[in-house]
Amino acid sequence: MSIERTHVSRREAFKIGGLTVSVAALVAACGEDRGGDTAPGRVGYAPPVTDPPDYNVDDAVLLRTASSLENTAVSVYEQALQIEGLGEPVQTLFEQLIDNHQAVADEMGALTDAEGGIPWECTNPWLDNRLIEPVLSAIASSDDPARDVFNFAVALEDLAASTHQVLSVELSSPEAKTATLNAATLESRHSAAIVIAMRGPDGYISPAVVGDGVPTDDDGVPERYAVSSRFGSVGQAELIVGSANENGVRQSFLLQTPAENSFIYNELEPTC
């Protein structure tokens, strides 16, 4: 019995291997009905992605969102009044601001009712979790709580003003459009009044209005001004609060007008 030995050279092995890969690729490309998940691959133990609910955004939703922001402002001022070192003029102003925000919240509630919605009497849960609670926590451990409360109050008034400014354009009901534009103007006055109460004439007009840079205070925190731009801004704004860390950096938060993630939809149950 003889055994015929088949000898395959290294060059032939490369040829066979290359041919096999090419044919496999061709077959795979021509294949039909290839099943499987078309979503991007996921690694590790990340929770599955859930699609957000598709809720309708109507005037009632926008007005409920406006109410939530006003209630949030009332809650923040009530907590701010507990902080020492604000001074009597600022305390008196904050008490006036609480009354004004409550009045606007009531007005937004009445308009919500008129639009067939249920008035929202709670704060905004999205803002509470992502802005209010972390900022108040940073202020509690701050090297200068009075400075931070001042900056937070101005930022909050600016946010409320720009939110109402946006809503005055987006709402369709004439009464609601007028009410939100009134609220935007009132809360712009609030912001300016806080700055003037704290800084006097130095805080009248931001250099940014005439195209110059905004200076920072001795702690490196940007100064606030009563008139900060020629036109009312609806862009995001930065708030810096808290003590500096070992690198001299303080916590920074971005404030944005409410959007799909922070709207108070008609389907949401009260959180208070």
């Binding site: 103007t185 009132l186 004439p201 020629r230």
Partner: protein, 208 residues
Amino acid sequence: MTSKGPSPVDPQPAETSVSRRSLLTTLGVAGVASAAAVAIATPASASPPYPTTEADRDLLSRTLRVELAAKRLYDDAVASGIGEEAAAVAEVFGGNHEAYADQMAAITGISADTFDEAFYEQRAAAFASGDVVEFATAAWELENSMAATYIDLFNDFESIDAHTVVSSIVVVNGRMATVLADLAGVTAFGEVLRPEAEIITLSEGENA
């Protein structure tokens, strides 16, 4: 193909008689069809137009002239020798009003070259007095009036463009008024935050 001849049933009756029931049915079908056609042609809630409309242009041509008159009033205040601090405020606020006129011109295509003379004449003396408190009080009242007027007119504007521009001006009117209240020595927060204001009567313009 073989013809099968005329149909044994005449499709066109010699006399068309319409009963009351068939008339109502016909009208009902026509009504529903018309309503359906209108519903398809018109969205359920028609969105406002984005660019300014003819009505917007008429209104904005008048407010533009008021803005230019305000710019002129602040220029007079600067020239009157009201002191460095008040003059700095007047210069920037005058610039703001000029920018508002320019913006209105930009969205309407109207030239920003004519000011409202009647509006200017009513306030010129106080702005040019050279007295800080008199100037600041007059300017405070002007900003409050402009804010109140824009809010009053807001629903008369039709386009998103006009609403967007006007809303972005009103909020700064409120801020400028708060600064001027401080400069004028108005200290009561209630008066500063919720001031009484007179609505401006806009004069008829060239486009009106």
